[in-house]
Amino acid sequence: MGVPAVDIAHLRKTYGTLVAVDDVSFSVAEGEIFGILGPNGAGKTTTVECAIGLRSPDSGTIRLHGLDPRADAREVHEVVGAQLQASAFPAKLRVGEILEEYRSFYRAPADIGELIEALGLAGKRHDYYKSLSGGQRQRLSLALALIGRPRIAVLDEMTTGLDPQARRDAWELIEGVRARGVTIVLVTHFMEEAERLCDRVALIDNGRVAALDSPARLAAQARGGKTVRFLPSAPFDDRLLRELPEVATVEHEGQHIVVTGTGELVSAVILALAAAGVTVRDVQLDSSSLEDAFVRLTGRHALKEGASA
């Protein structure tokens, strides 16, 4: 293995007194799909903004294929394609015109027809930007990140705002791009997305890397924890469960109750409720997951698929 595609060491970035990124280090191998997960305000976006040269770090080093994103900005921008959050285009430009402009910026660009075909935008080529739906704008933004045929694609909240089908299409596209050897750095809120796509995931919390491993191993580390979800026959006082030594958290999801904890969690919960005259149905024992690792490491819930950022 030669030089890593992305190499970040002790990155730190503050805005006045706010420490956005405290101390972040990680390396991404060429051809890897690397996920950056974390709660809002954890420093994910600032980290990637530093990585693509939009912001200069207070300290630490960043190398993309050995290049410094500030000192070698032009070269870095040639090999890195970025999708940014909250970036829009003039209302009265057509999709094809935006793509042609961006295509002209790069030395060996992708074919516009193939790209918009893969992203389901082929029928929109002659439409004004203002007529696109949120999901279509998001897919155009993804197309623009890939149009320079980058060696590294940095995608910040790539699938936020996409419906489930479009999200799966985007995942397939990303897997296809990776199959061509492109390194992908993916900032995401969605556990399912990280589990499906990422070879490794960095969990960032409070400006630091809280955990870094494959999604499967992160989930295994968290396996000490379990989640049980059920529908109670009658309302009951949450304290009934919270007082149990096996139980960590109790939450309501509509009619359902979600309990996390350890040990013989399921039987402890069912017995305690039965003693109070409450029966349970529709019991699901959830052992998925990256979600558990996320909650355990950050003390917060990640967004469920379909929730908005």
């Binding site: 030089v3 939009l54 032009r74 909250a86 003039p90 009265k92 402009e101």
Partner: protein, 259 residues
């Protein structure tokens, strides 16, 4: 396995600049506010003034000239000022607002190209408006050809050089396109007063005329009017315009924010 071929800086990017200019030109055509203010309004005013009989009479109080002859350069400056103070900063402020400039910062293309492209397109529109006005004045209303065509070009070029950086500074300090539009108007109308839109400079009392000489639009009218009616423009208004170009060029550079 990671041998990186470095892109040669400056290579093959002329096409990229052309594409940016092309899209900015398309946008200028599709949101015609700039074309209305910068071309349609001044040309229409020219045609109206040309049809007012009184404007075609030589007047002793105007130094033996016709009011129409005085208004042609004023309307040329009207077009330049509209495009520099409103046509240029409104899209640029909106690009900052939309994140267009930020997105451009992640590409190999220098983001300043967007400013240059927008400036070139607005300049192209201004040149067209001015050419149309000279041709209409000559062909329809019998105005004489400009005394010094080279002088007209120098005067217009320096006027643009003095005015466009003011527009860039407006784009720099306005957070939104709406703010740019408001500031642009607040700057445009008082400046047009000193250009003589409501009271031609020939009729201004001494103090007002002196002030007008040192305003960008007053200097622009003086330089262009001279080259239209007499000959190569005098140095003073050209120096004033060059001064504005330097000072506002510096300020715009100093204060421009990309995001």
């Amino acid at each position: 396995m990671t041998s990186l071929t470095l892109p040669r800086p400056g290579a093959a990017h002329r096409a990229a600049f052309g594409q940016i200019v092309l899209n900015e030109a398309r946008l200028t055509w599709r949101r015609p506010v700039g074309l209305v203010g910068g071309v349609a309004i001044p040309v229409t005013l020219l045609v109206i003034f040309g049809n007012v009989g009184k404007f075609q009479q030589h007047s002793a109080s105007l130094g033996g000239l016709t009011a129409f002859a005085l208004y042609v350069p004023i309307l040329m400056v009207f077009a330049l000022a509209m495009l520099a103070l409103l046509g240029l900063p409104i899209p640029l402020a909106s690009y900052r607002e939309l994140g267009v400039l930020r997105r451009l910062s992640t590409t190999p293309v220098p983001r300043s190209w967007m400013l240059i492209a927008q400036g070139l397109v607005q300049l192209g529109v201004a040149a067209t408006a001015i050419a149309v006005m000279i041709i209409v004045a000559m062909a329809v209303f019998g105005s004489p050809a400009p005394q010094s065509p080279a002088g007209v070009m120098v005067a217009v070029a320096l006027s643009a050089a003095g005015l466009f950086p003011i527009g860039l500074l407006i784009a720099a300090i306005a957070r939104t396109a709406n703010a740019a539009s408001v500031i642009g108007r607040l700057v445009f109308f008082p400046m047009m007063f000193f250009a003589g839109l409501w009271l031609p400079r020939a009729l201004m009392p001494g103090v007002l005329l002196t002030i007008s000489n040192y305003t960008p639009l007053g200097a622009a009218v003086e330089a262009i009017q001279n080259s239209m009616l007499q000959g190569f423009p005098p140095t003073a208004p050209l120096l004033v315009l060059a001064g504005y170009a330097l000072v506002f060029g510096f300020l715009a550079r100093r204060f421009f924010r990309w995001e």
